[in-house]
């Protein structure tokens, strides 16, 4: 990964992690969901849970939780892209200007959040954990690409979360 040599990247301490999706390896500091294997399909996306039976095993339970937690960033991108239409519609500027605009609009985005202005764009998506704008074609691609051995440390953490969730399943709702 690119950040390996990037000293500015805020790597978390030993037992902390960022939540990431399939595209990233499950290595120190990054918690990825369980993947489907030859033995069986492990569902991940929220829509797969809404249209199907509840989680059948602990891997799926973790994945459901993982997906709903990860929806925070999907929502953030959603608001950001919706608010700053220059980012998603017909492009008029070249890459240098666009990079600066990304920086500028993200700054303004944080500015709005920090000053806590009432903003209906944010209110709308605030409680919604069901956003699912990932398309499955991309996922398959990611899965193939990311089929590297998982890090042991993070696999242990994931296993622990899985066991805890599975044990407390009844109190989950």
């Amino acid at each position: 990964m690119a950040q390996d040599n990037d000293f500015e990247f805020p790597l978390p301490s030993k037992n902390k992690y960022y939540v990431v999706d399939y595209g990233y390896p499950n290595k120190q500091g990054f918690l990825a969901p369980y993947r489907s294997s030859q033995n069986g399909v492990v569902r991940y996306h929220m829509s797969q849970f809404y249209n199907g039976p509840p989680p059948r095993n602990k891997q799926e339970l973790v994945n459901r939780c993982h997906a709903s937690l990860r929806s925070v960033i999907e929502r953030t991108f959603g608001v950001w892209m919706k608010k700053w239409r220059i980012l998603c519609e017909f492009p008029r500027y070249d890459i240098d200007v666009k990079k600066r605009m990304v920086m500028a609009t993200m700054g303004l985005h944080n500015f709005i959040r920090i000053l806590n202005y009432f903003d209906e764009d944010f209110v709308e998506v605030m409680g919604d954990t069901n956003i699912n704008n990932v398309n499955s074609e991309n996922d398959l691609d990611d899965m193939e690409r990311g089929a590297k051995p998982d890090g042991n440390h993070m696999a242990n953490i994931r296993e622990r979360i899985a066991n805890m969730l599975w044990a407390n399943q009844n109190t989950f709702h």
Partner: protein, 147 residues
């Protein structure tokens, strides 16, 4: 913006006006020509003003897009602790990382590098976001798409 980042008004164009023009460009993706007509300015003035505001907003962005410090990484966000769905299972959570594509105009000879799966040219942005939906931080880089 005037005091902290040194945005200067000129004789004819006030700060408010230049910021308003910038926001119309960014928020509505309007053509510079339309914005010029709306504000009664020539395109030359408009273009100059927009890039002035862009420079200043970038500085503002640098202040508001923070890299978390080690202490902040150790702290557990309150919102996470209050949410029974995730607490105490995801106790080591510090943030979420994901990528997003932003459309961009590219020179024809370089377009091959930027094609995305929606048949558009775009570049990838990687961002980290905390549970309160802000603190977005970007580490943007150009991805080479291989098909």
């Amino acid at each position: 913006m005037e005091t902290s980042y040194g945005l200067q008004p000129t004789l004819n164009v006030s700060i408010e006006e230049s910021v308003a023009m910038f926001l119309r460009i960014c928020g509505h993706n309007e053509v510079q020509r339309d914005v010029g007509l709306r504000f009664g300015r020539t395109q030359e003035t408009l273009n100059r003003k927009i890039f002035e505001v862009l420079r200043v907003t970038e500085l503002l962005g640098c202040d508001y897009i923070k890299t978390p410090t080690t202490q902040e990484l150790r702290r557990i966000p309150e919102k996470l602790q209050m949410d029974r769905r995730y607490w105490p299972y995801f106790s080591g959570f510090v943030g979420i990382i994901d990528g997003v594509h932003v459309c961009v105009k590219v020179k024809p000879e370089l377009q091959g590098m930027y094609w995305n799966r929606h048949d558009r040219t775009s570049f990838n942005i990687m961002a980290i976001c905390d549970i309160n939906m802000f603190g977005i931080e970007h580490l943007d880089h150009v991805t080479t798409h291989q098909f």
